[in-house]
Symmetry: C2
Subunit: 338 residues, 2 copies
Amino acid sequence: MSSSRATLIEVAKLAGTSKTSVSRFFGPERDKLSSVLQSRIEQAAQSLGYQPNLMARGLKGGGSRLLGMLVADIRNPFSVAIVHGVELAARAHGYSLIVCNTDNDPEQEQKHLASLAAYQVEGLIINAAGQPEPQLQALMKGGIPLALLDREVRQLDAKVIGLDNVLAIDMALDHLVQQGYRSVLYVSETPEHASARLERLKRFNQQAEALGLDSQTLVLSSLAEHSAIPILKAFAEHPTTVPKAVLCANGNATLAMVRSFQHLGLAMGPLGLIGIDELDWCELVLPGITTLAQPTDVIGHAAIACLLNQFPQRARELPVQYRHPPTLITRGSTTFPG
Amino acid sequence: MSSSRATLIEVAKLAGTSKTSVSRFFGPERDKLSSVLQSRIEQAAQSLGYQPNLMARGLKGGGSRLLGMLVADIRNPFSVAIVHGVELAARAHGYSLIVCNTDNDPEQEQKHLASLAAYQVEGLIINAAGQPEPQLQALMKGGIPLALLDREVRQLDAKVIGLDNVLAIDMALDHLVQQGYRSVLYVSETPEHASARLERLKRFNQQAEALGLDSQTLVLSSLAEHSAIPILKAFAEHPTTVPKAVLCANGNATLAMVRSFQHLGLAMGPLGLIGIDELDWCELVLPGITTLAQPTDVIGHAAIACLLNQFPQRARELPVQYRHPPTLITRGSTTFPG
DNA sequence: ACCTACCTTGGGAACGTTCCCATTTAGATT
DNA sequence: AATCTAAATGGGAACGTTCCCAAGGTAGGT
């Protein structure tokens, strides 16, 4: 017995059959074998502790059973939740996932894309950091299914899966209006490289006007984190008779705003606060932060389904929903006193 | 020009040389080639957009350049921070990382381990959920380097990398004592399957006694989340003259305790609170939660170094530190008024 | 009894790479 | 000038699998 892993041929020899039959046993053609042979192979494989070598399988057109995923920021809890959903779904369909984190760096993104291609992934789920259109175009031409997560890539004909941004903004504004707020400050990270941010911002401007709200926007720059504080201060102190609220476009914006609220000693509620993305701590920061939670598992599942539908051999289409509705979680931060 | 990916042979043909030379160009023997040939190959590869097929390479003993990582709970922000650190280090050494999440389920763990083996990973970083000793034993015998993260596996002769648990508990208790607290409730998730939890608990009992503290422990069960509340209540209301504090063994325990504090209307500070693991929101929950931050990037780096040192061909040893000291971040939750 | 058809099984090539070894060429030493 | 050594290059086998096609066997229909 060698210390190294057993191969197909060794199993075949032990079972007194050919490598082809053993190969069939581990593939989708198992039932073409007689039950006698099946059990002989099963026993031999068991006793050798045989495990198919997926590298070899990947080489000879059998498919690598690998999916690649590119995440812009793995330290964002929301991204992690999505990764978790995608992994669950991938596993359920017999695929493994290579997760690569780009830290929002287009250069890293290029490198990761190259190495994922080198691993012959059968599909790619991409939460783009930059606009890697040329590489993705090439991969698509090579027949690799793609699904974009949350952010579209210009000029690229691939589906985008994510939150229903229009609905999310509408729900947030409806809730604020219903709670009595009439003036809203919209806070977002820089929208340039993320289409979801752009969609939300655009809809905010549009809908705030339609509802006749007093509106203002604040774009956070990661470079000058503290530049947000004077703007929030000005917004909070601006003399007006109507109740005011802050709407945060994602979890990071919410985090930055809560820090700013505390820095300025502002109370949540009197000055409203609502954020897209539900995070662990939103219920802990008193009086609790109202959020719109994204259905992360569902989104992950949809991304995999979208990929699977693009496989040529697949017979029936799995249903895929591209835009997903959030869930409103109401807490104290959007209760105007009195 | 085919739509499929270019191969070594096509590059060789275009460059007017042999596949061996092209192979050398992309391997570690590049400088054995004359500079003329090198530039010819470089140009040919460029123009065909050639990318080595890592599956084929992995097959013929060239190494898959893949590392596998098993994470017990990917939704724990601390785990993610470690993954991030490991990924950074892996990438820096030219390896890619397959991250598998076991959701603390030993059965999932077995499956993932099998599939990582099938992908011919060259090394494994394992944050164990159960005690997968037999499989790991087999992998080690097969020559696959292992590094354990945070949790040891019984009977397995592999290095464990993680926090210096003894030091962490000592630092926490020293800080509490220094702040005037004399009675401590230690809160941990169930320590059965995680050696780090066990080490911390053991050291707590030992050191609390050495320091002459009034001590008590509370083991959280994920099944009965609310069972913690009456115990905390009893601890808080127990009549005594000395200041009391709660020490949380990890981020999850801290989260549960903060929820319980709020549920019971307890103020942090008068009843002290300190936790191991630094999280985004610890500064946001007023008056701020004192924590011991783990050096996650450093730990990730150490894990990779540990792996690399086990590769047979490697000449010099990289220095590896197995136990890492935390950093104390002092906030209001451990300030006793007056 | 024979042909046809199907079901089961096995042999061989191919996938794209790396590695071993053989060959060529050039430079150095006697 | 002849030989030796080292460097540069190429040819072929091997890695473990899947897929194509062929071969043998068993039935069913004529």
